[in-house]
């Protein structure tokens, strides 16, 4: 099955959803910029996504956090990533997440990309 796919397709299948999410963020965030990723993901997954997005998005500065109210540290871009149900089943979310305050936080920002698992916002 893998033999019939391109390298990118194989990566997408074997590294779902990190590979696709990273490429979606990269399509919006310039290489010399930074992004804070608010991740609704389990604790094991957070460590994985931190390392994985560092790799896939280099040289962008990336911070992945399970805290929806985490400071943006002057980053111009904010991403909201929601992990897949399968991943959450194996590693349930245990961070700080408040949908209401997140909506308030995102309201003044410009939605730059809407993907299946990730939304990327830019400061207006």
């Amino acid at each position: 099955m893998l033999a019939d796919r391109t390298v990118a397709e194989r990566a997408s299948v074997l590294d779902y959803p990190a590979f696709d999410v990273a490429h979606e963020i990269a399509s919006v965030v310039p290489a010399n910029d930074c992004v804070v990723v608010l991740a609704y993901a389990g604790p094991d997954a957070i460590a994985y996504y931190n390392a994985r997005l560092d790799y896939l998005l280099y040289p962008r500065r990336v911070r992945v956090t399970p805290d929806s109210e985490a400071a943006s540290n002057d980053c111009e871009y904010l991403a909201v990533f929601r992990d897949t149900g399968t991943n959450l089943d194996s590693s349930p979310f245990s961070g700080e997440w408040n949908e209401e305050s997140l909506s308030v936080r995102l309201a003044p920002l410009e939605l730059a990309h809407q993907g299946k698992n990730v939304e990327v916002y830019a400061a207006r």
């Binding site: 390298v7 990566a11 074997l14 590294d15 994985y48 931190n50 790799y55 280099y58 040289p59």
Partner: protein, 463 residues
Amino acid sequence: MIVLGLALTALLGWLSLPHRLNLGLVSGLALGFLAASFGLSVELFVFSVVGLPLNAVLAITPWIVFAVWSTMRGRPMPSIQVTAGAVLALGVTSIVMALWLPMERSMTLNSQSWDAWAIWLFKAKAFYLDGNISDYLSRSVEFIGQPGYPLLTPLYSTWLYEWSDTLADHGAKLTSPLYFLATIGASWWIIGRLAGPTTAGITASLVALTPMVQRTAFDWAGYADTALSAYFVVAAGFLVLWIRDAEIIDLAAGSLAATAAAWTKNEGQVFLAIFMAIAVATLVSRRRGTVSWVWVLAPPTLLIGTWFAVRATHGVEAAGFVPGAGFDLGLFTTAAGTMASKALSPNGFALAFPLFLATCSIAMVGRVSLARWAPSTLVLAHIAAALLAYSTGRNEISWWLETSADRVLAQIAPLAIVAAAAVLAPWLETAFDDGASATIEPSTEKIGPASRIRRNKHNRDSR
């Protein structure tokens, strides 16, 4: 272009190696790949230190020039001598490669290959995108990884990216299978010189057939462990040849290979220290001249010393440990039990370690020269250093052993097989009538290159 870059590395490396090593096609490509991938990584490191761009063409040019010059001086064409050992080794290696070939199709940097992308190829990517090594090292506190690890694997991959002008990380993973082939080729040539073609063929086949060595090369492609095992074999092999034959070229090759091991992984730095201790003891006992001392001391001092300095200027800590510090006997016992269980598992390391232990026992009661003990000493030191590291409790021991013990043993398994063959060589030569060296040599025997080549005329690859 990546495949062309890999092929050029092996070819130019072979053509640049000294004629007097009497390398055939297979051993030439194997040792050539090891020499040139090491050399190219060092060149990119030097470029970065002095402020030059990490330019692939600039780095390969000296190799092209030297290979052309060397070839024009009259390199003999590799002879084709089909021996039973050669057929065995090539047949086994071909079957192993065919069985693992489908793996190449899934060689993406996925979640299964954590260290490959989080440590080794992350640096390669960063160096390629930044055009230097400083930017990544300056930012290393941002990343989960091991910024203090040495740079052979990352910088050779950076060279491949620069050469192909694309960030083909799946292509860089092909280096692991090539280091696997180089390990087999190097084992074949080393034992060919120490014993004969039949013993060499059996040794190379055993290396190729060790399951965990295969898994490390293919399943964990992109890690640095396979490269490390190749340099271990070459360094230990040339060390024993130098002690036996007293040829300065063997000492130089051994010292460079040991330095390459230290430039590949931290475990290689322990290996280098033991290698230097054996070499210095030999230099002192045999009152060798200044040139020998320079070859033992200069490569590690210049390269590893500069790397330590560069690392320190960027505030990057070494990921090592102080032997004996924080020693915990309980952790040591746990680690020793797990390592022994894994090492003696037929599914993991097949005959590698049982053979090694058996030959150590035989050697203790038999008359074996000190030279032939050198590889075994390096194997035992490597395992002892790993046990001491596990005994520090820097990580949770079960997790640590589960994620690293197989690889630590896979690093040294090929050398364990080569060490066993080195010890058994005098008996095997007689049994197989290989004729490479008809008697158990005195350890101080000095043999000139011409007579040595005559002695080893059967040992060129089918070669």
